[in-house]
Symmetry: C2
Subunit: 496 residues, 2 copies
């Protein structure tokens, strides 16, 4: 199948079941009320089942679309109008997958035995405390779950939860599995492949087993395979900012996970220094985000977790103050959803809608989105943020999963109501501007001093500037005339 | 200090902060509305702080009474009228304890360094998969948490949560710590010491590190020390029933944790065979319970978790059916509080009030309590069960801790209202009978056939019989005349 190269315009990121209700319904939204806003869409895991123990990130069958959401034809149809990004979960499969269930039943006699990692596959002669303490994991405990496979007790490698069984990506069976998944995705027109949790994908004794040279080699192989099938690769890694810069040089696309905490820090304190520094050094082959289906990652701006002497974009004290500020601005709701309190897989992420993190203040909410849209890269907007959604305390209470605070299920009425709100209307206008104004194809500069932050684009005569007072959160966008419209100023504060 | 030997009469088990509000207030309840009902009371952890990460089971200072609950003098005062049982948390202390905080700061240079266990203290030369897979732990994962102590990464031994740091009970510092705790308790008149989680207390390479010969030796030492100070010892272990029987032969007192699931199984199915079998073989130096501050333990009646070929009191299929039945009877509430769903430390326990597990059916609720009170041993009644409390879904939602479903905070009005209910009045009457009728000092027999279960006590002329139709849950108690009252029959069904 041939198709145009993936677009670099704005993308939506959403669960098909939580926005629209299915892949065709999500397609209808993108072609209806959202026409002209987004060039692409990241559909969060829609494989079988989409509602497992980790909201689709624990597939039982990664090569099948969950029939409750649609079919591969629905994905292919969407891909005719929008660049489709989809997750490739390379590190693990569900404990309920047919392959692992066979290993549970038959142990070493299962043909799938080699497909999964155990402690002994990496450390055949055992390991001592120093060796095991070296393994990187942004959560408590070691990544092993004792299980009986056939008749023998084993320590199965489970980086995330005991329901997510790590693949041995070096084994023949593991490779074949990944090939099948990749082919299923690209055959349906998926143009961007997000490598979920790939930093943990390769385990190498004597190392942290996180983003080692062996991991890079693995990413290189996956990237080559994806490119051969016409797709780009996005690497998902939460890590120290310097490691992110190094990784960006070696892959197609990375996330800019430093941006969300820096935007909050800037709007909370009025201090633009850390954000300016980041805008100066950050890689531009990045997907920018404010909110995602996961929490707000503070590990990305703090001192290095692996080599603790390397400073971060923020000091440890600033990170602590940032986390406290999110809790304060959200009226304590994020505290209930974060850390030990809410069985989180990652205690370094704060769970909160971005709108609540900004006190439900429409001006700051829009200012934050404007910073994202004026930052180089492909802007990706999470559906809850787009609709200025608030913390879903009911869902959090029902599931006890911290991240569900920011994973509201919108019904059609709620979606309809959001289109009428000033905050969402203004963000949609900014997205249209970002998508179509020629200035964004040119050169980017950061200007202003102190609390006045100016993000400026220039492309011949075409200019677009975001002028923001970080202290008050008051901002405006000034754009030159272009083929679509006259020169104008867009004030980023609601009419009172 | 001298005091009478601990009583073998009924005991209450409660948190001072959740019933009464303080140790003096709990004392006032026991001497007021509950006078003549209980001979003893297990006050759940009242150390500093009583409200840590594990509801008091993670003491920062185990030798201090939390000042919000009272003083050691309040404990000593209660001990003048009631046998006081208190927890001795022998396996771990809070990560926030002064000693561990010093180890975090200074590593090996801390004088407390030897007090805590790491991977390397047990496996100095490392360990392989088979060795580590041997460690027994009724929850997922290995019992290690990577932490930086001083400047060095270590794997700290954390059997329960990363906030509970395991002691090296073989070290001089560990021994001195336990001595201080024991002395603090017995000095305040505590007559029964509950050894919390003692089965995990001793780690021995090459073994499961659970109830090994080395663990028994440790329990023997603790028991000798407690007896020398006038106290008995209760050993808390959830395990296969045959292991429980073996343990009971070697210690003062064990829990009868098999009784609660067997009572539910009996009342759900009308099948009395498993309960009869247990009543035939169980140890009588047991504290009987239906509900406790923890969940309903199904590991105690199932096939052996350590040697999977040893059958349980119930088959695996019966255990599964039992768990499903609890979920059904509680209208699904227990499912929200159990297993992976609710960040439980123990996925083998079902969290639900006993009243909800019996469908809030007053007759079955009272029948269950009657079975407990007619079973040999020291009956211990949990405060939520005594007051026929229902699942606290609000508290569960607020904390995300599964066991909080059964840890309601009763205010004075709720307590007052409970005394007026038929269920609580009848249970109090049964408790008074159990405490004072001479028949219970004699011989115990199980009679009846099929669904008709008769538990009979006889002591000379004094007799007491529980006659129960397990199918319908309808029962009655027949007692002979004694010094306190005439012969009579107590019907265990509410007047309609």
């Amino acid at each position: 199948m041939t198709r145009p190269a993936p677009s670099t315009g704005p993308q939506l990121i959403a669960y098909a079941d939580r926005l629209g209700g299915s892949i065709p319904a999500l397609t209808a939204l993108l072609r209806g009320p959202l026409a002209g806003v987004f060039d692409g869409v990241h559909i969060l895991p829609f494989y079988t089942p989409f509602d497992g123990a980790d909201a689709g990130f624990d597939p039982v069958d990664h090569t099948a679309v969950d029939p409750r959401l649609g079919t591969w034809s629905d994905v292919a149809d969407l891909a005719t109008s929008h660049t489709v990004m989809a997750d490739m979960i390379v590190n693990h499969v569900s404990v309920d997958s047919a392959a692992f269930q066979d290993v549970l039943a038959r142990g070493d006699r299962s043909p799938a035995a080699g497909m999964f990692l155990t402690f002994g596959s990496v450390y055949p002669d055992g390991a001592d405390e120093a060796e095991l303490a070296r393994i990187y994991r942004p959560r408590p405990g070691l990544p092993f779950t004792p299980m009986t496979l056939g008749d023998t007790r084993h320590l199965v490698w489970t980086t995330f939860t005991p329901q997510q069984i790590d693949l041995d990506v070096r084994s023949t069976a593991g490779r074949e599995y990944l090939d099948q998944v990749l082919t299923a995705l690209t055959s349906a027109g998926v143009g961007m492949i997000r490598l979920d949790a790939v930093g943990y994908g390769v385990k190498t004794p004597g190392t942290s087993s996180f983003m080692t040279p062996e991991t890079f080699a693995f990413i290189d192989e996956l990237t080559a395979a994806a490119r051969a099938q016409g797709a780009q690769v996005l690497v998902e890694i939460h890590s120290h900012y310097q490691r992110q810069i190094a990784i960006a040089e070696r892959v197609d696309l990375v996330y800019d996970f430093a941006l969300p905490p820096l935007v909050l820090h800037t709007l909370y304190t009025g201090d633009t220094a850390a954000l300016r520094h980041w805008l100066d050094v950050r890689p531009s082959n990045a997907i920018t985000v404010l909110d995602t289906h996961d929490g707000i990652g503070v590990v990305d701006v703090g001192p290095d977790q692996i080599e603790p002497h390397a400073p971060g974009l923020l000091t440890a004290a600033q990170v602590d103050a940032l986390v406290e500020s999110i809790h304060e601005h959200s009226g304590g709701q994020s505290r209930e959803a974060t850390g030990w309190a809410a069985s989180n897989v990652d205690v370094y992420q704060v769970n909160c809608t971005f709108y609540d993190a900004l006190d439900r203040d429409d001006a700051r909410h829009v200012a934050a989105r404007a910073i994202q849209l004026f930052t180089p890269g492909i802007p990706q907007v999470y559906y809850v943020g787009l609709l200025a959604g608030v913390n879903d305390m009911d869902l959090l209470a029902r599931t006890g999963v911290g991240r569900d605070i920011n994973r509201h299920r919108f019904d059609a009425e709620e979606v309809e109501a959001a289109w009428g709100s000033w905050a969402t209307r203004t963000v949609l206008e900014l997205l249209r501007l970002r998508r179509s104004h020629p200035a964004f194809g040119g050169r980017f500069r950061v200007e202003g001093e102190g609390a006045e932050l100016i993000l400026a684009w220039e492309n011949g005569d075409a200019t677009a500037r975001l002028v923001l007072d970080a202290g008050s959160g008051v901002g405006r966008v000034e754009v030159s005339a272009d083929g679509d419209g006259p020169a104008r100023t867009l004030v980023l504060t609601p009419e009172s």
